[in-house]
């Protein structure tokens, strides 16, 4: 059932264990359209695992995930976990990886258009309208690369681009399928500090254009500036949650206070 008043994303009682270790111990939160949610916390607090669960790269052991009121995943209901359906459900989310993971044998533009082309080819009416559809995908790819400031690098292969440029291509690629929620997994952690600025700038622009985002990050200044809400994770649970001014300006819990003291 689609419900127009439902939040764009709702996560309920999510848990994930790897063998005996419980990495996420029951997390619930929701996200409204156009919100930018930052998730902060020390390494091993479960931030990345949470993001991977949202993108179905990990299967949660318990809990539910709904998008726009549609129940996408329920750990208690195997019918929501069919491989073929999962593939389509992933398209609600985009994911930008810490290590970019661009496809090395494709140019910047091809990286952005590949998945759209493959999806288009599966449509029954593709053959009839092939030229128009492919031209449209191409145009969309060009527009996305322009958005991230890479119009002059369309035909460059990943190894010919700097880390910051590669990550911006990865952002354009994640946007190509028009996801409802764009996720970032420490997008600047693999970059030199002087280069991470250009990636943060690209994300800032998306925030200005009201793209709904979930950002796992270690860049506290950036999180404070770009987010509408911040979640602080500790030991697999949400230890504190609130608007950035509160989280960074007036942290309540002792854990968050000592975490901020250590990283700022």
């Amino acid at each position: 059932m689609l419900n127009s008043h439902a939040p764009i994303l709702e996560v309920r009682d999510l848990k994930k264990d790897f063998d005996a270790t419980e990495v996420i111990k029951g997390i619930s939160f929701s996200l409204e359209q156009n919100e930018v949610l930052s998730i902060i916390g020390s390494s091993g607090s479960g931030k990345t695992t949470l993001l991977r669960c949202l993108n179905f790269l990990e299967t949660p052991s318990e809990g539910q995930i709904s998008v726009k009121g549609e129940l996408l995943f329920d750990a208690a209901d195997p019918a929501t976990q069919r491989e073929a359906d999962i593939r389509k459900k992933r398209l609600h989310f985009g994911l930008v990886f810490q290590s970019f993971n661009l496809f090395p044998q494709y140019t910047a533009l091809q990286n952005v258009t590949l998945a759209s082309e493959l999806l288009a080819k599966e449509q029954p009416d593709f053959r009839a309208d092939k030229t128009r559809i492919l031209a449209q995908i191409q145009e969309n790819g060009l527009a996305l690369l322009e958005q991230v400031g890479l119009s002059d690098k369309l035909d460059f292969y990943p190894h010919q681009l700097s880390g910051g440029q590669q990550q911006r291509v990865a952002i354009a690629r994640a946007l190509a399928l028009n996801p409802d929620i764009l996720c970032f997994d420490e997008p600047t952690s693999a970059l030199d500090p002087e280069i991470s600025g250009e990636v943060l700038q690209a994300i800032r622009r998306l925030a200005e254009r009201n793209v709904t985002m979930v950002i796992v990050t270690h860049e506290m200044g950036f999180a404070r500036e770009v987010s509408s809400r911040v979640i602080f994770m500790d030991g697999g649970v949400i230890a504190e949650e609130g608007p950035p001014e509160e989280i960074f300006g007036a942290p309540k819990s002792e854990r968050l206070q000592s975490f901020l003291k250590a990283v700022l």
Partner: protein, 215 residues
């Protein structure tokens, strides 16, 4: 024995050498890929079966495998033996598929997990990820080790003579037995040199062609 008549006769043997080489390659490459997937299968019995097969094939001499394929069915079950060339081809395909499978497996397993995950989050199917993303990267990585095997195969064809298949060396050797001439045997080396030289050029070309990206 004129140089020309020896050359023509050796060329006949060389024709069979090339035939064994090509057929082995064409059949063993896809079979090797299938065995590689079996060796990586999540289904344990299949994985063990495949690994045992590779162990046996790689641990016994190819020469004995050729003999076994040719004489084995007759000795064991009283069946009519197959043609000599067919027996050589069967043994070679099985043997080389086992070696190729390990090269493929190494290549496939060397591709970072992030490449698969990037494909998954973009909604690609397993097949699309393998054929559109992974395969070319694997090919690029395995050209050098595969080239080694291919060059070795050229010279391994000389093992066919253990069951009297008239490839290049067998023919050259006949000149010793019949006329007491040894130079045709040394002369046969030139054929291998030229053939392997051409293959080396082809392999270098392939590497250059795939040089436009880095993995």
């Amino acid at each position: 024995m004129s140089f020309l008549s020896v050359t023509l006769r050796l060329l006949e043997g060389f024709g069979l050498t090339v035939e064994i080489f090509l057929i082995t390659l064409v059949c063993a490459l896809p079979l090797g890929l299938v065995i590689a997937f079996c060796s990586m299968s999540g289904f344990r019995p299949l994985r063990y079966l495949s690994k045992t097969f590779v162990w046996i094939i790689r641990s016994t001499p190819l020469m004995l495998q050729v003999i076994l394929v040719f004489y084995g069915p007759g000795l064991l079950w009283g069946l009519d033996s197959m043609g000599r060339t067919e027996a050589v081809l069967a043994a070679f395909v099985i043997n080389y598929a086992a070696y190729f499978s390990e090269i493929f497996r190494g290549g496939i397993e060397s591709i970072p997990k992030g490449q698969y995950e990037a494909g998954q989050v973009l909604g690609m199917t397993k097949n699309q990820i393998f054929f559109k993303v992974i395969l070319l990267q694997v090919v690029k990585r395995i050209v050098p080790p595969l080239g080694n095997e291919v060059i070795t195969l050229v010279k391994d064809t000389s093992l066919a003579r253990v069951i009297a298949v008239k490839e290049l060396i067998m023919i050259a050797n006949e000149y010793i037995a019949t006329y007491g001439l040894i130079w045709p045997l040394f002369y046969s080396m030139v054929f291998y040199l030229i053939f392997c030289g051409l293959l080396t050029l082809l392999l270098n070309y392939t590497e250059r062609k795939l040089g436009y990206f880095r993995v």
